[in-house]
């Protein structure tokens, strides 16, 4: 298998090396268009991975531990002449420059540096392996086709994450048609909204959060957040981007970045706390509202109105939050992968 894969890698490397020599002055866009259908048939990253040097491709495919790469040359050092032999030692800036000039191998090396991080961003946003894998492939393909428009205003990775984040948000918008309601959204009733209630006062919030089973399943709660909250959490706490980097990525001010992260964490915290009494709390909320609306303040309780309202109102409310009668497995997405 090793030999076959290396042969495959060499084949692609030779093929694209030949193409590069033929089309020395072609832009990457022209190259991409020329091989568009073929690249897609073969899955684009096939090439990016295989076009690495034989050693690099082998290490990635078969997970052979390698010594850390030698220190990247600093910006003060003179740029190294790009040859096929030493591209892996080039600085990221040099690789980006080459990629913008149409060097597919340079782009392949860049893609290899960030594909796993991009995949993790997508996985935490989308919650399953297949969608995350597709989103990552799409992000790298888009980055490849638009690298000439990358101006270097941010780092390459931030630029790539922005592409991936937008793809994930698009996917979440498509999913919205399935009416998956984030647990941090208010309950909707025909004549207004009510906030979801916090759990039992018997325990302090810290005691509830201290239960391992709740925070141990934090991925589930991340996936129940709204797309905007989810993205804030993923960029900051999964990807570890600074406020400055997130500001570049989203085009928002630092103040906006901070307040979005703050709101997202509060939403996540409330979602975890709400989980404690998820089903019973929802029913209790409906019950409380119906009592308030149909029982009357001083003219005595109208039990018939209350029970009629309970039957219709509770059904609507539970359907609205995605819980069908006799369906206790409401809307959990995905799970831990890898």
């Amino acid at each position: 298998m090793n030999a076959v894969s290396n042969d495959t890698g060499l084949k692609y490397k030779e093929e694209f090396g030949r193409q590069r020599r033929i089309a020395t002055n072609q832009s990457v866009i022209e190259l991409f268009n020329h091989y568009h259908s073929r690249l897609f048939m073969l899955r684009p990253l096939n090439q990016f991975a295989a076009m690495r040097t034989k050693k690099g491709a082998s290490a990635r495919l078969f997970r052979i531990d390698r010594k850390p790469s030698p220190k990247k040359p600093s910006k003060k050092n003179p740029p190294v002449e790009p040859t096929a032999v030493c591209k892996e030692t080039l600085s990221e800036d040099d690789l980006v420059t080459l990629a913008r000039q149409g060097d597919i191998e340079a782009f392949g090396i860049l893609a290899g540096l960030y594909e796993k991080k991009t995949y993790n961003l997508a996985y935490r946003m989308l919650g399953n392996v297949e969608d995350a894998s597709d989103a990552t492939q799409e992000a790298l393909t888009k980055a490849f086709s638009s690298i000439v428009s990358f101006k270097g205003m941010s780092s390459f990775s931030t630029w790539l994450y922005r592409i991936a984040a937008n793809i994930c948000l698009d996917e979440l918008r498509r999913r919205k048609r399935n009416k998956v309601v984030p647990l941090d959204s208010p309950l909707s009733l025909p004549d207004g909204e009510i906030p979801r209630e916090l759990p039992s006062p018997c325990e302090t919030p810290e005691q509830i959060l201290a239960r391992k089973e709740l925070l141990g399943d934090i991925q589930k709660f991340i996936l129940s957040l709204s797309p905007d909250h989810r993205l804030s959490i993923v960029l900051r706490d999964i990807r570890g981007l600074s406020y400055e980097e997130i500001s570049q990525l989203t085009g928002s001010s630092l103040g906006t970045v901070k307040s979005r992260i703050h709101r997202a964490r509060q939403a996540l915290k409330n979602t975890v706390l709400n989980e404690e009494l998820s089903s019973s709390t929802n029913v209790a909320s409906v019950d409380r509202v119906l009592r308030t609306r149909y029982a009357g303040d001083s003219s005595g309780q109208d039990k018939n109105a209350y029970h009629a309202g309970l039957e219709t109102g509770a059904k609507e409310c539970l359907e609205d939050i995605g819980v069908k009668p006799d369906d206790k497995n409401s809307k959990t997405e995905g799970g831990e992968g890898s």
């Binding site: 096939n46 594909e115 796993k116 810290e206 201290a210 934090i218 999964i238 992260i261 964490r265 509060q266």
Partner: protein, 65 residues
């Protein structure tokens, strides 16, 4: 520092995006205020849980091989 200012700084403090002087004032307020300390601990527990999520490997077949 009052409670409103303190609560507003929780996120920046957790992200180490806060000036040293502000951080000291923030910590002093937390020591004196149970409510703010409770809110801070809750936010920190949730944030720590997210940050402790392991990095997942690329799925087999990602490169089509």
């Amino acid at each position: 520092m009052n409670c409103e200012e303190c609560l507003d700084l929780i996120t920046a403090y957790l992200d180490d995006e806060i000036a040293a002087k502000e951080a000291r004032d923030f910590e002093e307020h937390l020591l004196a205020c149970d409510a703010c300390r409770s809110e801070f601990q809750q936010m920190r527990m949730v944030t720590d849980a997210v940050r402790s999520l392991p990095e997942v490997d690329l799925p087999l077949g990602f490169h089509g091989i």
